[in-house]
């Protein structure tokens, strides 16, 4: 055998092995998409990967069963708002914690990081009372404010701080010689140099908001205000049993934006998870 042939065989074996390993991950996804096109009876009938009858109308029913378009939009705009706010706040606070010497900076950092160790479920009840006393129940405010200023925001701030710490100080000195103020250095030197960290924060924040379930469940009550994760759990028949085909069709639609973003920014995302040390 020539060197080339060995190479080809070697690579084929590897590809096969990886394909086999990928099956447990890909199969549920394909099953979800396919079930979205089936009828409920077919879902519980003889299992088949492809639907025998393609029910495209499932995808229309998803929108008529409840205000799904509206709910989709809710999720989208909330996730964008949370992402933008978190980027602004975490980069400002992270910069201050990394570069400004002020009394109690170390203590403040400790205080913030310790907030990361409190599980969300512990704070949800006090948060509920707080939000209720502000009259914000069944509005989107808690879904925007809690992720931004809660543990997730702290984590984003911490991430930005670590990144800013690693930026060379002489660059900022050069900025000062060029006449920049503190805020100017942040905006025109620190931020442009921190694109990888900003991308990481943007991606994990968007996903975090997009997947949020507990908070919407607690704070929202009307269908028009629902976000996607809540809406997805709401495709039930009159007995409260899940309408599997609608639910899975809706889920397919819900993962679409994430899939698209992932395909576009695949490398960026892998890097950002590596950078943030966070699982997807």
């Amino acid at each position: 055998m020539t060197r080339r042939q060995i190479d080809i065989i070697y690579r084929t074996c590897w590809t096969l092995a990886l394909l086999i390993v990928a099956i447990p991950f890909v199969f549920p996804f394909l099953w979800m998409v396919s079930a979205g096109f089936k009828s409920t009876t077919e879902i519980f009938g003889t299992p088949s990967l492809l639907p025998r009858v393609w029910r495209y109308e499932n995808f229309i029913e998803v929108f008529t069963y409840q205000p799904f378009a509206r709910q989709y939009f809710n999720s989208l705009y909330i996730a964008i708002a949370v992402t933008v706010l978190t980027l602004i706040i975490s980069s400002l606070a992270g910069y201050a914690l990394a570069r400004m010497r002020f009394a109690g900076a170390g203590l403040l950092m400790l205080f913030l990081v310790s907030a990361l160790m409190v599980p969300e479920e512990v704070t949800i009840i006090p948060n509920f009372f707080l939000i209720r006393s502000l009259g914000l129940i069944d509005t989107h405010w808690p879904l925007i404010l809690l992720p931004t200023f809660g543990p997730h925001g702290v984590m984003a701030t911490f991430l930005m701080r670590q990144y800013f710490l690693a930026l060379p100080r002489e660059l900022e000195d050069a900025g000062r010689m060029d006449g920049l103020s503190r805020i100017g250095i942040w905006w025109r030197i620190a931020l442009p140099m921190s694109r990888p960290a900003l991308a990481a924060v943007a991606i994990i924040t968007f996903l975090f908001s997009w997947n949020l379930f507990l908070e919407p469940l607690i704070f929202l009550s009307s269908l028009e205000m629902f976000t996607l994760p809540l809406a997805l759990s709401n495709f039930n028949d009159s007995y409260g049993l899940p309408l599997w085909n609608l639910q899975l069709a809706a889920t397919t639609l819900a993962v679409l934006p994430i899939l698209i973003v992932y395909l576009i920014a695949q490398r960026q995302i892998t890097e950002s998870f590596a950078l943030s040390g966070v699982k997807g």
Partner: protein
């Protein structure tokens, strides 16, 4: 153009005093070099002049104006950093024009000044490149260009050549000297390379532990060092320091000053002769041939080692007993505190 005057400048970081009272005048158009061992406070002093670091006490005047509380960007100084500190996200043109942009200089004026500076530094062809696409020497030139564009009254350089390889360092050194000749702007230059200091400076300031040891022209420092520290710091290889009694042997005609306890003689001033009673006798322990000169290490009867530099090809082989002499003008005497006496 402006002069720089420091009066009893001090700097504390917390409880430790890093700069402990520096008085210094750099005249208009002068090229001053700060030298000193690592950690002696050269960078700190320079950063205080630039405005990047506050002055704890004392007076700082640039061009007759008190600058203690003036912002860095408004002091009329341009700084070149050791790491170049080019903005990685901007190309050469924008790096050089950044300061003018921040100061809201109109676009065409900015463009003109960037092009002028680029022409001076032969950067014309590189204006659209990013820092990562430049070699070390080119980055260094951009960093200098960025300082020039602001037409400062005073240029400050903090070890600008220390990241370059030896050959490029020599080349850039001559470019900086040429730049000073052309611009005639006051320049203050920090280095711990004393060859750089000697070749570039009109005035050298030797610092140690936050204090000035001596200020003078390169020649002053080489020929008339004030103390042992300066004597050994300036000149390479460093000056040999021997017990004063040995002076009689090195240069028999010399009268020994009363308070002298040690005598310094530079390796390049020692001559090898036949061992006689009126020369300093020594044994060769090592010869280092470098091409132009040979460094000969010798051991004195008292056990001290001593270095001789000679441009002869054939030095006496290891183990040979030789004699050493020097002209009396080349001997430096120091008292018990290390101060020069004559």
């Amino acid at each position: 153009m402006a002069d720089v005057v420091l009066k009893d400048i001090r700097k504390q970081f917390g409880a430790t005093e890093i700069i402990r009272g520096v008085d210094l005048t750099v005249d208009e158009g002068e090229f001053a070099v700060f030298v000193g061992p690592s950690g002696c406070g050269k960078s700190t002093l320079l950063r205080m002049i630039s405005g990047l670091e506050d002055v704890s006490s004392g007076e700082l005047h640039i061009g007759g104006r008190r600058m203690n509380d003036v912002q860095a960007a408004k002091r009329g100084v341009g700084m070149v950093f050791q790491s170049y500190a080019l903005y990685p996200h901007l190309n050469v043109r924008d790096n050089m024009g950044f300061g003018l942009k921040v100061r809201k200089v109109p676009v065409d004026e900015r463009d003109r000044r960037v092009r002028e500076a680029a022409a001076t530094l032969k950067l014309d062809a590189l204006l659209d490149r990013y820092p990562r696409q430049l070699s070390g020497g080119q980055r260094q030139r951009v960093a200098i260009g960025r300082a020039i564009v602001g037409s400062p009254d005073v240029f400050l350089f903090d070890e600008p050549l220390s990241n370059l390889d030896a050959e490029l360092r020599v080349h850039m050194r001559s470019e900086i000297a040429a730049l000073h000749n052309r611009l005639k702007t006051t320049m203050i230059y920090v280095t711990h390379d004393q060859i750089e200091a000697m070749t570039l400076a009109d005035k050298i300031v030797v610092l140690r532990d936050g204090l000035v040891e001596q200020i003078g022209s390169p020649r002053d420092l080489y020929e008339k060092p004030n103390n042992v520290f300066v004597a050994q710091f300036i000149g390479s290889p460093r000056m040999n320091l021997l017990p004063a009694a040995e002076a009689k042997l090195i240069s028999p005609t010399h009268a020994l000053p009363a308070s002298a306890v040690s005598v310094g003689v530079r390796p390049e001033h020692l001559r090898v002769v036949e061992p006689t009673t009126d020369s300093l006798s020594a044994t060769v322990t090592l010869n280092e041939y470098t091409g132009a000169v040979t460094l000969m290490h010798v051991e004195l009867p008292g056990g001290q080692t001593c270095l001789v530099v000679d441009d002869k090809r054939d030095m006496p082989p290891i183990g040979t007993r030789i004699g050493l002499t020097a002209d009396k003008d080349n001997l430096h005497f120091f008292d018990a505190d290390g101060r020069a006496v004559s």
